[in-house]
Subunit: 305 residues, 2 copies
Protein backbone atom coordinates (compact mmCIF):
# COMPACT_ATOMS: atom_id res chain seq x y z
CA UNK A 1 0.00 0.00 0.00
CA UNK A 2 1.54 3.32 -1.02
CA UNK A 3 1.38 6.27 1.34
CA UNK A 4 2.95 9.69 1.68
CA UNK A 5 6.15 9.44 3.72
CA UNK A 6 4.95 12.26 5.95
CA UNK A 7 1.80 10.29 6.92
CA UNK A 8 1.68 7.63 9.65
CA UNK A 9 1.53 3.97 8.67
CA UNK A 10 -2.02 2.86 9.47
CA UNK A 11 -2.20 -0.73 10.74
CA UNK A 12 -5.53 -2.42 11.34
CA UNK A 13 -4.60 -6.09 11.34
CA UNK A 14 -3.18 -7.74 14.45
CA UNK A 15 -1.00 -9.97 12.31
CA UNK A 16 0.54 -6.98 10.53
CA UNK A 17 1.09 -5.23 13.85
CA UNK A 18 2.89 -8.28 15.28
CA UNK A 19 5.15 -8.54 12.22
CA UNK A 20 5.91 -4.82 12.34
CA UNK A 21 6.67 -5.01 16.09
CA UNK A 22 9.00 -7.96 15.62
CA UNK A 23 10.95 -6.12 12.93
CA UNK A 24 11.31 -3.01 15.10
CA UNK A 25 12.51 -5.13 18.03
CA UNK A 26 15.10 -6.82 15.85
CA UNK A 27 16.40 -3.36 14.89
CA UNK A 28 16.77 -2.57 18.59
CA UNK A 29 14.53 0.51 18.41
CA UNK A 30 12.34 1.53 21.36
CA UNK A 31 8.58 1.97 20.96
CA UNK A 32 6.28 4.43 22.73
CA UNK A 33 2.52 3.91 22.77
CA UNK A 34 -0.11 6.64 23.09
CA UNK A 35 -3.48 4.88 23.53
CA UNK A 36 -6.42 7.09 22.49
CA UNK A 37 -10.04 6.98 21.40
CA UNK A 38 -9.27 9.40 18.55
CA UNK A 39 -11.04 12.75 18.07
CA UNK A 40 -7.59 14.16 18.56
CA UNK A 41 -6.83 17.56 20.01
CA UNK A 42 -3.70 19.36 21.15
CA UNK A 43 -3.66 17.35 24.38
CA UNK A 44 -3.19 14.11 22.42
CA UNK A 45 -0.53 15.73 20.28
CA UNK A 46 1.42 16.68 23.40
CA UNK A 47 1.32 13.01 24.44
CA UNK A 48 2.76 12.12 21.04
CA UNK A 49 5.46 14.78 21.41
CA UNK A 50 6.43 13.36 24.81
CA UNK A 51 6.60 9.88 23.25
CA UNK A 52 8.73 11.14 20.35
CA UNK A 53 11.22 12.63 22.81
CA UNK A 54 11.53 9.44 24.85
CA UNK A 55 11.28 6.70 22.22
CA UNK A 56 12.62 5.89 18.75
CA UNK A 57 9.22 5.01 17.33
CA UNK A 58 5.77 6.32 18.28
CA UNK A 59 2.57 4.29 17.93
CA UNK A 60 -0.81 5.85 18.54
CA UNK A 61 -3.73 3.49 18.96
CA UNK A 62 -7.17 4.84 18.06
CA UNK A 63 -10.02 2.69 19.33
CA UNK A 64 -13.34 3.72 20.85
CA UNK A 65 -13.56 1.03 23.51
CA UNK A 66 -17.17 -0.09 23.99
CA UNK A 67 -16.65 -1.71 27.42
CA UNK A 68 -15.85 1.60 29.10
CA UNK A 69 -19.22 3.09 28.14
CA UNK A 70 -22.39 2.37 30.12
CA UNK A 71 -25.56 1.66 28.10
CA UNK A 72 -26.86 5.23 28.69
CA UNK A 73 -23.57 6.91 27.78
CA UNK A 74 -22.34 8.38 24.48
CA UNK A 75 -20.73 5.37 22.75
CA UNK A 76 -22.80 5.83 19.59
CA UNK A 77 -22.26 9.57 19.35
CA UNK A 78 -18.66 9.68 20.59
CA UNK A 79 -16.79 11.66 17.91
CA UNK A 80 -15.03 9.49 15.32
CA UNK A 81 -12.75 11.57 13.11
CA UNK A 82 -10.13 9.18 11.74
CA UNK A 83 -9.23 11.09 8.52
CA UNK A 84 -8.73 14.32 10.45
CA UNK A 85 -6.81 12.45 13.15
CA UNK A 86 -4.42 11.01 10.57
CA UNK A 87 -3.98 14.46 9.01
CA UNK A 88 -3.10 15.89 12.44
CA UNK A 89 -0.45 13.19 12.91
CA UNK A 90 1.14 13.81 9.50
CA UNK A 91 4.21 15.99 9.23
CA UNK A 92 4.90 18.73 6.66
CA UNK A 93 5.63 17.46 3.15
CA UNK A 94 8.95 15.64 3.03
CA UNK A 95 9.29 15.29 6.79
CA UNK A 96 8.57 12.49 9.22
CA UNK A 97 5.03 12.09 10.62
CA UNK A 98 4.35 13.03 14.24
CA UNK A 99 3.31 9.44 14.99
CA UNK A 100 4.99 6.68 12.98
CA UNK A 101 2.13 4.19 13.27
CA UNK A 102 -1.59 4.54 13.87
CA UNK A 103 -3.08 1.26 15.11
CA UNK A 104 -6.85 1.07 14.54
CA UNK A 105 -7.83 -2.45 15.60
CA UNK A 106 -11.08 -4.16 14.72
CA UNK A 107 -13.52 -4.96 17.52
CA UNK A 108 -13.52 -8.61 16.37
CA UNK A 109 -9.80 -8.77 17.23
CA UNK A 110 -10.09 -6.86 20.49
CA UNK A 111 -13.21 -8.67 21.74
CA UNK A 112 -13.09 -12.05 19.93
CA UNK A 113 -15.97 -13.35 22.08
CA UNK A 114 -18.15 -10.37 21.17
CA UNK A 115 -19.32 -7.60 23.48
CA UNK A 116 -22.48 -6.85 25.36
CA UNK A 117 -23.10 -4.32 28.12
CA UNK A 118 -25.13 -7.01 29.95
CA UNK A 119 -22.45 -8.23 32.29
CA UNK A 120 -24.08 -11.61 32.91
CA UNK A 121 -23.79 -12.35 29.19
CA UNK A 122 -20.18 -11.22 28.78
CA UNK A 123 -17.59 -13.78 27.67
CA UNK A 124 -13.81 -13.63 27.51
CA UNK A 125 -11.21 -12.05 29.76
CA UNK A 126 -11.82 -8.89 31.79
CA UNK A 127 -9.37 -7.11 34.05
CA UNK A 128 -10.35 -5.28 37.21
CA UNK A 129 -8.07 -3.16 39.38
CA UNK A 130 -9.57 -3.45 42.84
CA UNK A 131 -9.19 -0.70 45.40
CA UNK A 132 -8.93 2.28 43.04
CA UNK A 133 -11.73 1.66 40.51
CA UNK A 134 -14.97 2.25 42.40
CA UNK A 135 -14.67 5.72 43.92
CA UNK A 136 -14.50 9.17 42.23
CA UNK A 137 -15.19 8.59 38.51
CA UNK A 138 -15.81 4.92 39.29
CA UNK A 139 -18.48 5.91 41.79
CA UNK A 140 -20.80 7.27 39.12
CA UNK A 141 -19.42 5.02 36.36
CA UNK A 142 -19.05 1.60 38.05
CA UNK A 143 -17.98 -0.36 34.91
CA UNK A 144 -15.71 2.35 33.51
CA UNK A 145 -12.31 1.34 34.91
CA UNK A 146 -12.92 -2.36 34.27
CA UNK A 147 -13.32 -1.38 30.62
CA UNK A 148 -10.21 0.80 30.78
CA UNK A 149 -8.06 -1.83 32.52
CA UNK A 150 -9.19 -4.49 30.04
CA UNK A 151 -8.50 -2.46 26.88
CA UNK A 152 -5.18 -1.11 28.18
CA UNK A 153 -4.03 -4.67 28.96
CA UNK A 154 -4.97 -5.79 25.44
CA UNK A 155 -3.30 -2.82 23.74
CA UNK A 156 -0.12 -3.26 25.79
CA UNK A 157 -0.03 -6.95 24.86
CA UNK A 158 -0.56 -6.13 21.19
CA UNK A 159 1.82 -3.18 20.74
CA UNK A 160 4.31 -4.29 23.43
CA UNK A 161 5.65 -0.76 23.90
CA UNK A 162 8.69 0.06 26.01
CA UNK A 163 6.88 3.13 27.34
CA UNK A 164 3.17 4.03 27.42
CA UNK A 165 1.96 7.63 27.70
CA UNK A 166 -1.19 8.78 29.51
CA UNK A 167 -2.64 12.24 30.13
CA UNK A 168 -2.92 13.66 33.65
CA UNK A 169 -6.39 14.96 32.74
CA UNK A 170 -7.68 11.42 33.42
CA UNK A 171 -6.04 11.30 36.85
CA UNK A 172 -7.84 8.26 38.20
CA UNK A 173 -7.14 6.40 34.96
CA UNK A 174 -3.44 7.09 35.55
CA UNK A 175 -3.69 5.65 39.07
CA UNK A 176 -5.60 2.60 37.81
CA UNK A 177 -3.16 1.95 34.95
CA UNK A 178 -0.11 2.37 37.18
CA UNK A 179 -1.58 -0.18 39.60
CA UNK A 180 -2.48 -2.45 36.67
CA UNK A 181 1.05 -2.40 35.26
CA UNK A 182 2.62 -3.08 38.64
CA UNK A 183 0.09 -5.72 39.65
CA UNK A 184 0.03 -7.68 36.37
CA UNK A 185 3.85 -7.36 36.04
CA UNK A 186 3.41 -5.81 32.60
CA UNK A 187 6.82 -5.16 31.03
CA UNK A 188 6.30 -1.45 30.26
CA UNK A 189 7.17 1.94 31.74
CA UNK A 190 4.42 4.50 32.24
CA UNK A 191 4.74 8.26 31.71
CA UNK A 192 2.05 10.75 32.75
CA UNK A 193 1.93 13.95 30.68
CA UNK A 194 0.52 17.20 32.17
CA UNK A 195 -2.94 18.34 31.07
CA UNK A 196 -3.09 20.60 28.02
CA UNK A 197 -5.45 23.56 28.47
CA UNK A 198 -7.21 26.20 26.42
CA UNK A 199 -6.22 29.83 26.98
CA UNK A 200 -8.87 30.23 29.72
CA UNK A 201 -7.74 27.05 31.48
CA UNK A 202 -10.39 24.59 30.25
CA UNK A 203 -8.79 21.15 30.03
CA UNK A 204 -8.73 19.92 26.44
CA UNK A 205 -11.13 17.02 25.89
CA UNK A 206 -12.71 15.32 22.91
CA UNK A 207 -16.05 16.01 24.57
CA UNK A 208 -15.49 19.78 24.58
CA UNK A 209 -16.81 19.79 21.01
CA UNK A 210 -20.26 18.96 22.41
CA UNK A 211 -20.34 22.35 24.23
CA UNK A 212 -22.47 25.26 22.93
CA UNK A 213 -20.76 28.67 22.79
CA UNK A 214 -22.50 29.67 26.00
CA UNK A 215 -21.55 26.43 27.75
CA UNK A 216 -17.99 26.72 26.52
CA UNK A 217 -17.65 30.14 28.08
CA UNK A 218 -19.23 29.06 31.36
CA UNK A 219 -17.14 25.87 31.62
CA UNK A 220 -14.00 27.79 32.56
CA UNK A 221 -15.28 28.20 36.15
CA UNK A 222 -14.26 24.58 36.78
CA UNK A 223 -10.55 25.22 36.30
CA UNK A 224 -10.83 28.61 38.02
CA UNK A 225 -12.16 26.81 41.08
CA UNK A 226 -9.39 24.22 41.06
CA UNK A 227 -6.82 27.00 40.72
CA UNK A 228 -8.32 28.92 43.63
CA UNK A 229 -7.88 25.84 45.82
CA UNK A 230 -4.36 25.24 44.52
CA UNK A 231 -3.43 28.84 45.34
CA UNK A 232 -4.79 28.40 48.87
CA UNK A 233 -2.86 25.11 49.18
CA UNK A 234 0.36 26.83 48.15
CA UNK A 235 -0.34 29.47 50.81
CA UNK A 236 -0.56 26.72 53.44
CA UNK A 237 -4.20 25.56 53.48
CA UNK A 238 -4.45 21.79 54.05
CA UNK A 239 -8.07 21.23 55.16
CA UNK A 240 -10.44 19.38 52.88
CA UNK A 241 -13.49 21.51 53.69
CA UNK A 242 -11.69 24.76 53.00
CA UNK A 243 -10.11 23.59 49.76
CA UNK A 244 -13.25 22.03 48.31
CA UNK A 245 -15.34 25.05 49.33
CA UNK A 246 -13.13 27.28 47.19
CA UNK A 247 -13.74 25.09 44.13
CA UNK A 248 -17.45 24.92 44.80
CA UNK A 249 -17.79 28.69 45.17
CA UNK A 250 -16.27 29.29 41.73
CA UNK A 251 -18.39 26.64 40.05
CA UNK A 252 -21.58 28.06 41.57
CA UNK A 253 -20.89 31.32 39.73
CA UNK A 254 -21.93 29.55 36.51
CA UNK A 255 -25.06 27.91 37.94
CA UNK A 256 -27.45 26.64 36.73
CA UNK A 257 -25.58 26.04 33.43
CA UNK A 258 -22.69 24.30 35.20
CA UNK A 259 -23.68 21.85 37.93
CA UNK A 260 -21.16 20.28 40.28
CA UNK A 261 -21.38 16.48 40.22
CA UNK A 262 -18.70 15.70 42.80
CA UNK A 263 -15.40 16.94 44.17
CA UNK A 264 -12.67 14.72 45.58
CA UNK A 265 -9.52 15.31 47.59
CA UNK A 266 -7.83 11.93 47.44
CA UNK A 267 -4.60 10.17 48.30
CA UNK A 268 -2.56 9.89 45.06
CA UNK A 269 -2.09 6.11 45.25
CA UNK A 270 -4.92 4.63 47.34
CA UNK A 271 -7.50 7.24 46.21
CA UNK A 272 -8.87 7.28 49.76
CA UNK A 273 -10.65 10.56 50.49
CA UNK A 274 -8.60 12.83 52.76
CA UNK A 275 -9.73 15.12 55.58
CA UNK A 276 -6.53 17.07 55.12
CA UNK A 277 -3.64 16.94 52.65
CA UNK A 278 -0.76 15.05 54.22
CA UNK A 279 2.83 14.28 53.27
CA UNK A 280 1.85 12.25 50.20
CA UNK A 281 0.00 15.21 48.69
CA UNK A 282 -3.41 14.83 47.04
CA UNK A 283 -5.36 14.69 43.82
CA UNK A 284 -7.95 17.47 43.76
CA UNK A 285 -10.49 16.42 41.15
CA UNK A 286 -14.13 16.46 40.21
CA UNK A 287 -16.80 16.37 37.55
CA UNK A 288 -19.32 18.97 36.39
CA UNK A 289 -22.44 18.56 34.31
CA UNK A 290 -23.54 20.92 31.56
CA UNK A 291 -26.65 20.47 29.43
CA UNK A 292 -24.68 18.98 26.52
CA UNK A 293 -22.01 16.93 28.31
CA UNK A 294 -20.07 16.10 31.45
CA UNK A 295 -16.51 17.31 32.06
CA UNK A 296 -13.76 16.15 34.44
CA UNK A 297 -10.61 17.95 35.56
CA UNK A 298 -7.99 17.84 38.30
CA UNK A 299 -4.92 19.47 39.77
CA UNK A 300 -2.19 17.71 41.71
CA UNK A 301 -1.35 19.09 45.13
CA UNK A 302 2.28 18.23 45.82
CA UNK A 303 2.21 14.76 44.27
CA UNK A 304 2.79 12.89 41.03
CA UNK A 305 0.65 10.24 39.36
CA UNK B 1 26.34 -17.81 42.77
CA UNK B 2 28.03 -21.04 41.73
CA UNK B 3 25.93 -24.02 40.75
CA UNK B 4 26.40 -27.37 39.14
CA UNK B 5 26.05 -27.10 35.37
CA UNK B 6 23.58 -29.97 35.39
CA UNK B 7 21.24 -28.08 37.78
CA UNK B 8 18.72 -25.46 36.69
CA UNK B 9 19.44 -21.79 37.33
CA UNK B 10 17.09 -20.77 40.15
CA UNK B 11 15.80 -17.20 39.78
CA UNK B 12 13.72 -15.59 42.50
CA UNK B 13 14.06 -11.88 41.70
CA UNK B 14 11.91 -10.25 39.06
CA UNK B 15 14.76 -7.94 38.11
CA UNK B 16 17.11 -10.87 37.52
CA UNK B 17 14.44 -12.65 35.49
CA UNK B 18 13.91 -9.59 33.27
CA UNK B 19 17.66 -9.24 32.68
CA UNK B 20 17.98 -12.94 31.88
CA UNK B 21 14.98 -12.78 29.52
CA UNK B 22 16.38 -9.78 27.68
CA UNK B 23 19.71 -11.53 27.15
CA UNK B 24 18.02 -14.66 25.79
CA UNK B 25 15.91 -12.55 23.44
CA UNK B 26 18.97 -10.77 22.13
CA UNK B 27 20.50 -14.19 21.37
CA UNK B 28 17.39 -15.03 19.35
CA UNK B 29 16.61 -18.15 21.38
CA UNK B 30 13.02 -19.26 21.98
CA UNK B 31 11.66 -19.76 25.48
CA UNK B 32 9.08 -22.30 26.70
CA UNK B 33 7.33 -21.87 30.05
CA UNK B 34 5.92 -24.67 32.19
CA UNK B 35 3.96 -23.00 35.02
CA UNK B 36 3.58 -25.25 38.07
CA UNK B 37 2.91 -25.19 41.80
CA UNK B 38 5.86 -27.56 42.37
CA UNK B 39 5.54 -30.95 44.11
CA UNK B 40 6.71 -32.30 40.80
CA UNK B 41 5.82 -35.68 39.41
CA UNK B 42 6.26 -37.44 36.10
CA UNK B 43 3.38 -35.43 34.59
CA UNK B 44 5.27 -32.17 35.13
CA UNK B 45 8.41 -33.73 33.71
CA UNK B 46 6.52 -34.67 30.56
CA UNK B 47 5.50 -31.01 30.21
CA UNK B 48 9.16 -30.06 30.50
CA UNK B 49 10.11 -32.65 27.88
CA UNK B 50 7.50 -31.24 25.50
CA UNK B 51 8.89 -27.75 26.09
CA UNK B 52 12.45 -28.92 25.50
CA UNK B 53 11.43 -30.40 22.14
CA UNK B 54 9.68 -27.21 20.98
CA UNK B 55 11.87 -24.45 22.45
CA UNK B 56 15.55 -23.58 22.84
CA UNK B 57 15.25 -22.75 26.54
CA UNK B 58 12.85 -24.16 29.16
CA UNK B 59 11.67 -22.19 32.19
CA UNK B 60 9.61 -23.83 34.91
CA UNK B 61 7.87 -21.54 37.34
CA UNK B 62 7.14 -22.96 40.78
CA UNK B 63 4.68 -20.89 42.78
CA UNK B 64 1.83 -22.02 45.04
CA UNK B 65 -0.69 -19.36 44.07
CA UNK B 66 -2.77 -18.32 47.08
CA UNK B 67 -5.63 -16.74 45.09
CA UNK B 68 -6.68 -20.06 43.56
CA UNK B 69 -7.33 -21.61 46.98
CA UNK B 70 -10.54 -20.97 48.91
CA UNK B 71 -10.19 -20.34 52.66
CA UNK B 72 -11.26 -23.94 53.48
CA UNK B 73 -8.91 -25.54 50.94
CA UNK B 74 -5.38 -26.93 51.34
CA UNK B 75 -3.17 -23.85 50.72
CA UNK B 76 -1.28 -24.32 54.00
CA UNK B 77 -0.76 -28.03 53.57
CA UNK B 78 -0.22 -28.10 49.80
CA UNK B 79 3.05 -30.01 49.34
CA UNK B 80 6.11 -27.76 48.97
CA UNK B 81 9.15 -29.77 47.91
CA UNK B 82 11.52 -27.31 46.23
CA UNK B 83 14.83 -29.14 46.87
CA UNK B 84 13.39 -32.39 45.50
CA UNK B 85 11.84 -30.49 42.59
CA UNK B 86 15.19 -28.97 41.65
CA UNK B 87 16.85 -32.39 41.92
CA UNK B 88 14.22 -33.84 39.56
CA UNK B 89 14.96 -31.10 37.03
CA UNK B 90 18.72 -31.64 37.15
CA UNK B 91 20.41 -33.74 34.52
CA UNK B 92 23.05 -36.44 35.01
CA UNK B 93 26.50 -35.13 35.96
CA UNK B 94 28.06 -33.23 33.09
CA UNK B 95 24.86 -32.91 31.09
CA UNK B 96 22.31 -30.15 30.69
CA UNK B 97 19.47 -29.86 33.21
CA UNK B 98 15.94 -30.85 32.16
CA UNK B 99 14.74 -27.28 32.78
CA UNK B 100 17.23 -24.48 32.25
CA UNK B 101 15.63 -22.05 34.70
CA UNK B 102 13.39 -22.49 37.73
CA UNK B 103 11.55 -19.26 38.54
CA UNK B 104 10.35 -19.14 42.16
CA UNK B 105 8.88 -15.66 42.60
CA UNK B 106 8.15 -13.99 45.92
CA UNK B 107 4.53 -13.30 46.82
CA UNK B 108 5.48 -9.64 47.40
CA UNK B 109 6.41 -9.39 43.71
CA UNK B 110 3.40 -11.36 42.46
CA UNK B 111 0.84 -9.62 44.68
CA UNK B 112 2.44 -6.23 45.44
CA UNK B 113 -0.80 -5.00 47.05
CA UNK B 114 -0.93 -8.03 49.37
CA UNK B 115 -3.46 -10.84 49.32
CA UNK B 116 -6.55 -11.68 51.28
CA UNK B 117 -9.22 -14.25 50.56
CA UNK B 118 -11.85 -11.63 51.57
CA UNK B 119 -12.73 -10.37 48.12
CA UNK B 120 -14.10 -7.02 49.34
CA UNK B 121 -10.65 -6.23 50.77
CA UNK B 122 -8.63 -7.27 47.72
CA UNK B 123 -6.51 -4.66 45.95
CA UNK B 124 -4.65 -4.74 42.65
CA UNK B 125 -5.45 -6.29 39.28
CA UNK B 126 -7.46 -9.49 38.88
CA UNK B 127 -8.32 -11.25 35.65
CA UNK B 128 -11.56 -13.14 35.07
CA UNK B 129 -12.41 -15.24 32.02
CA UNK B 130 -16.17 -15.02 31.79
CA UNK B 131 -18.24 -17.81 30.26
CA UNK B 132 -15.93 -20.74 31.07
CA UNK B 133 -14.97 -20.14 34.72
CA UNK B 134 -18.10 -20.84 36.74
CA UNK B 135 -19.25 -24.32 35.73
CA UNK B 136 -17.62 -27.74 36.29
CA UNK B 137 -14.62 -27.14 38.61
CA UNK B 138 -15.66 -23.47 38.86
CA UNK B 139 -19.10 -24.56 40.08
CA UNK B 140 -17.74 -25.94 43.35
CA UNK B 141 -14.70 -23.63 43.40
CA UNK B 142 -16.09 -20.22 42.35
CA UNK B 143 -12.86 -18.20 42.84
CA UNK B 144 -10.54 -20.83 41.42
CA UNK B 145 -10.26 -19.76 37.78
CA UNK B 146 -10.05 -16.08 38.65
CA UNK B 147 -6.96 -17.01 40.64
CA UNK B 148 -5.65 -19.14 37.78
CA UNK B 149 -6.26 -16.47 35.11
CA UNK B 150 -4.63 -13.82 37.28
CA UNK B 151 -1.47 -15.80 38.08
CA UNK B 152 -1.09 -17.08 34.51
CA UNK B 153 -1.32 -13.52 33.18
CA UNK B 154 1.35 -12.37 35.62
CA UNK B 155 3.68 -15.29 34.87
CA UNK B 156 3.30 -14.80 31.11
CA UNK B 157 4.09 -11.09 31.51
CA UNK B 158 7.13 -11.88 33.63
CA UNK B 159 8.66 -14.76 31.69
CA UNK B 160 7.39 -13.66 28.24
CA UNK B 161 7.66 -17.16 26.80
CA UNK B 162 7.17 -17.92 23.12
CA UNK B 163 5.22 -21.05 24.08
CA UNK B 164 3.48 -22.02 27.34
CA UNK B 165 2.76 -25.67 28.25
CA UNK B 166 -0.25 -26.91 30.21
CA UNK B 167 -1.40 -30.40 31.17
CA UNK B 168 -4.63 -31.87 29.80
CA UNK B 169 -5.35 -33.22 33.29
CA UNK B 170 -6.62 -29.73 34.18
CA UNK B 171 -8.93 -29.61 31.17
CA UNK B 172 -11.02 -26.62 32.21
CA UNK B 173 -7.86 -24.71 33.07
CA UNK B 174 -6.69 -25.34 29.50
CA UNK B 175 -9.97 -23.94 28.15
CA UNK B 176 -9.77 -20.91 30.46
CA UNK B 177 -6.13 -20.19 29.60
CA UNK B 178 -6.72 -20.57 25.86
CA UNK B 179 -9.60 -18.08 26.10
CA UNK B 180 -7.45 -15.80 28.25
CA UNK B 181 -4.58 -15.76 25.76
CA UNK B 182 -6.90 -15.08 22.83
CA UNK B 183 -8.99 -12.50 24.66
CA UNK B 184 -6.14 -10.50 26.22
CA UNK B 185 -4.12 -10.76 22.97
CA UNK B 186 -1.21 -12.26 24.90
CA UNK B 187 1.76 -12.83 22.58
CA UNK B 188 2.27 -16.52 23.34
CA UNK B 189 1.41 -19.90 21.85
CA UNK B 190 -0.23 -22.53 24.03
CA UNK B 191 0.46 -26.27 23.94
CA UNK B 192 -1.62 -28.85 25.82
CA UNK B 193 0.24 -32.02 26.81
CA UNK B 194 -1.67 -35.32 27.35
CA UNK B 195 -2.23 -36.52 30.90
CA UNK B 196 0.46 -38.73 32.40
CA UNK B 197 -0.95 -41.75 34.25
CA UNK B 198 0.13 -44.41 36.70
CA UNK B 199 0.16 -48.04 35.52
CA UNK B 200 -3.47 -48.53 36.64
CA UNK B 201 -4.58 -45.35 34.86
CA UNK B 202 -4.75 -42.93 37.83
CA UNK B 203 -3.90 -39.45 36.55
CA UNK B 204 -0.71 -38.16 38.15
CA UNK B 205 -1.36 -35.32 40.58
CA UNK B 206 0.54 -33.63 43.37
CA UNK B 207 -2.45 -34.41 45.59
CA UNK B 208 -2.11 -38.18 45.03
CA UNK B 209 0.46 -38.20 47.82
CA UNK B 210 -2.37 -37.47 50.26
CA UNK B 211 -3.97 -40.87 49.46
CA UNK B 212 -3.71 -43.80 51.90
CA UNK B 213 -2.75 -47.16 50.40
CA UNK B 214 -6.39 -48.24 50.47
CA UNK B 215 -7.58 -45.00 48.86
CA UNK B 216 -4.83 -45.19 46.25
CA UNK B 217 -6.01 -48.64 45.21
CA UNK B 218 -9.67 -47.61 45.11
CA UNK B 219 -9.01 -44.37 43.18
CA UNK B 220 -8.39 -46.24 39.93
CA UNK B 221 -12.15 -46.72 39.44
CA UNK B 222 -12.34 -43.09 38.28
CA UNK B 223 -10.21 -43.63 35.21
CA UNK B 224 -11.78 -47.04 34.62
CA UNK B 225 -15.17 -45.30 34.44
CA UNK B 226 -13.95 -42.65 32.03
CA UNK B 227 -12.40 -45.36 29.87
CA UNK B 228 -15.65 -47.35 29.82
CA UNK B 229 -17.47 -44.29 28.51
CA UNK B 230 -14.73 -43.59 25.97
CA UNK B 231 -14.95 -47.17 24.72
CA UNK B 232 -18.73 -46.81 24.32
CA UNK B 233 -18.21 -43.47 22.54
CA UNK B 234 -15.80 -45.11 20.10
CA UNK B 235 -18.42 -47.79 19.47
CA UNK B 236 -20.93 -45.07 18.52
CA UNK B 237 -22.63 -44.01 21.76
CA UNK B 238 -23.32 -40.23 21.79
CA UNK B 239 -25.97 -39.78 24.50
CA UNK B 240 -25.05 -37.97 27.68
CA UNK B 241 -27.11 -40.18 29.99
CA UNK B 242 -25.61 -43.39 28.66
CA UNK B 243 -22.03 -42.14 28.72
CA UNK B 244 -22.20 -40.65 32.22
CA UNK B 245 -23.99 -43.72 33.55
CA UNK B 246 -21.04 -45.87 32.52
CA UNK B 247 -18.63 -43.67 34.49
CA UNK B 248 -20.91 -43.60 37.48
CA UNK B 249 -21.31 -47.37 37.57
CA UNK B 250 -17.55 -47.91 37.75
CA UNK B 251 -17.07 -45.29 40.46
CA UNK B 252 -19.84 -46.81 42.58
CA UNK B 253 -17.83 -50.02 42.74
CA UNK B 254 -15.46 -48.25 45.16
CA UNK B 255 -18.20 -46.70 47.31
CA UNK B 256 -18.22 -45.48 50.03
CA UNK B 257 -14.46 -44.78 49.88
CA UNK B 258 -14.75 -43.00 46.52
CA UNK B 259 -17.69 -40.61 46.20
CA UNK B 260 -18.67 -38.99 42.93
CA UNK B 261 -18.79 -35.19 43.21
CA UNK B 262 -19.89 -34.39 39.68
CA UNK B 263 -19.60 -35.57 36.09
CA UNK B 264 -19.65 -33.29 33.06
CA UNK B 265 -20.02 -33.83 29.33
CA UNK B 266 -19.18 -30.41 27.95
CA UNK B 267 -18.51 -28.59 24.71
CA UNK B 268 -14.71 -28.25 24.37
CA UNK B 269 -14.73 -24.45 23.92
CA UNK B 270 -17.91 -23.06 25.52
CA UNK B 271 -18.03 -25.70 28.28
CA UNK B 272 -21.81 -25.81 27.89
CA UNK B 273 -23.20 -29.14 29.10
CA UNK B 274 -24.24 -31.39 26.20
CA UNK B 275 -27.23 -33.72 25.89
CA UNK B 276 -25.32 -35.58 23.22
CA UNK B 277 -21.83 -35.36 21.78
CA UNK B 278 -21.95 -33.42 18.52
CA UNK B 279 -19.48 -32.57 15.78
CA UNK B 280 -17.23 -30.53 18.07
CA UNK B 281 -16.67 -33.50 20.36
CA UNK B 282 -16.77 -33.21 24.15
CA UNK B 283 -14.77 -33.07 27.34
CA UNK B 284 -15.83 -35.91 29.63
CA UNK B 285 -14.69 -34.88 33.09
CA UNK B 286 -15.50 -35.01 36.76
CA UNK B 287 -14.33 -34.95 40.34
CA UNK B 288 -14.40 -37.58 43.05
CA UNK B 289 -13.96 -37.24 46.79
CA UNK B 290 -11.98 -39.58 48.99
CA UNK B 291 -11.50 -39.17 52.74
CA UNK B 292 -8.05 -37.59 52.34
CA UNK B 293 -8.46 -35.52 49.18
CA UNK B 294 -10.40 -34.67 46.04
CA UNK B 295 -9.30 -35.82 42.56
CA UNK B 296 -10.19 -34.63 39.06
CA UNK B 297 -9.72 -36.35 35.71
CA UNK B 298 -10.98 -36.21 32.13
CA UNK B 299 -10.87 -37.79 28.71
CA UNK B 300 -11.38 -35.99 25.42
CA UNK B 301 -14.03 -37.39 23.09
CA UNK B 302 -13.02 -36.45 19.57
CA UNK B 303 -11.74 -32.97 20.39
CA UNK B 304 -8.63 -31.03 21.38
CA UNK B 305 -8.16 -28.42 24.08
Amino acid sequence: MSRALNAPLVIQSVEQLRQWRHAVRMEGRSVGLVPTMGALHEGHLNLVRAARTACDIVVMSIYVNPTQFAPHEDLDTYPRTLPQDIALLSGPHGSRPLADVVFTPRTSDIYPDGITTDRSQQRGAFVEVLGVSHQMEGGTRPHFFRGVATIVTKLLNLVQPDVAFFGQKDAQQCVVVRSLIRSLCLPVQMVVVPTTREADGLAMSSRNRYLSAEEREAACVFYAGLRAAQTAFMAGERQRDKLLHLVQTEIEKAAPLVQLEYLSLAHPRTLDELDAVGESGAILSGAVKLPSTRLIDNLLLDCEL
